[in-house]
Amino acid sequence: MSSHGNTVDPKKTVLWDAEYHGHDVISTRSLGFFLYLLSDGMIFATLFAAYGVLSYSHNYFGGPTPSQFVHPWYTFTQTVSLFLSVLAYGMGMAAMKNRNRGGLISGLLGALVLGVVFLCLDVHDMTDLARQGITIATSGGTSAFIILTQVHAAHIFFGLIWILVMVAQVSSKGFTTDTVGRLLSLRMFWHLQAIIWVFVYVFVYLWGYIS
């Protein structure tokens, strides 16, 4: 605010900063990725808005509603496997802190396997629904239900590819600025999927089941 001071001594004023090397690379990276994740969160918020609008009883067009086709305990196993996957990833990150490469890789592999379990359960659920004639084309309500859950599943799918890539990178390169930065970004990505799953699970599966 007091930028226009009266007297300035040209010899004492700092005009250039040769020693300035900028900012910490990893935190700059993770901020950018976090912003991406938030915009991804907005995608889910918009999908939830759409789901809310399309989950009135007339939106199911007289057809099956989630209260008829959701099985809470089945989906709970999905919840458990996703949470365990996230936990495994977290254990891997704790190992990384101790520069334990083997621990990290086993954590990643654990997360991978449990993520695959989650995805298989989801695919099984969807094919089961399709067999009962409940598809994306059944009614506006089922369209919203299936898109919302499957967009989440698609995130899991791409996360799994990324985990695979990171397993390969950590094995070949070890801990570099690049790999550590990416592992941190992936951690945010993976953990955010768990947070979003809480909403999907509670407000789409459970609420759909009870209403």
Partner: protein, 103 residues
């Protein structure tokens, strides 16, 4: 924070809350509206626990911008969902009188 204990607490809190919510929903423990309230509370606590223990959102200096941006985003999520739902509940009320209120 990014310790084994943090991750375990995050897992246990959210896992148990989801277990409770699933149990109550599966057994229809309360009337629908009360049930909705209860599972909403479960979801809220689980989300907060996960945000804190897993995403490490706090006011530490290297995280501050992540926290700031999250705090700025949350009202937008609420506005997006809330205003849309309100708008369409009103629209259904006005244009589909026979259908509205059958949520």
């Amino acid at each position: 924070m990014s310790s084994v204990r943090g991750y375990l607490s995050g897992f246990l809190i959210s896992g148990l809350l989801m277990l409770a919510a699933t149990y109550m929903a599966a057994t229809h423990a309360f009337p629908p509206f009360g049930l909705l309230m209860v599972i909403t509370v479960c979801a809220a606590i689980a989300t907060i626990a996960q945000t804190y223990f897993l995403l490490h959102i706090d006011t530490a200096e290297h995280n501050i911008w992540n926290t700031v941006s999250l705090v700025l985003f949350i009202p937008l999520f609420v506005l997006t969902i809330g205003l849309t739902w309100w708008m369409f509940s009103q629209l259904y009320l006005h244009t589909m009188p026979a259908m509205a209120g059958m949520h």
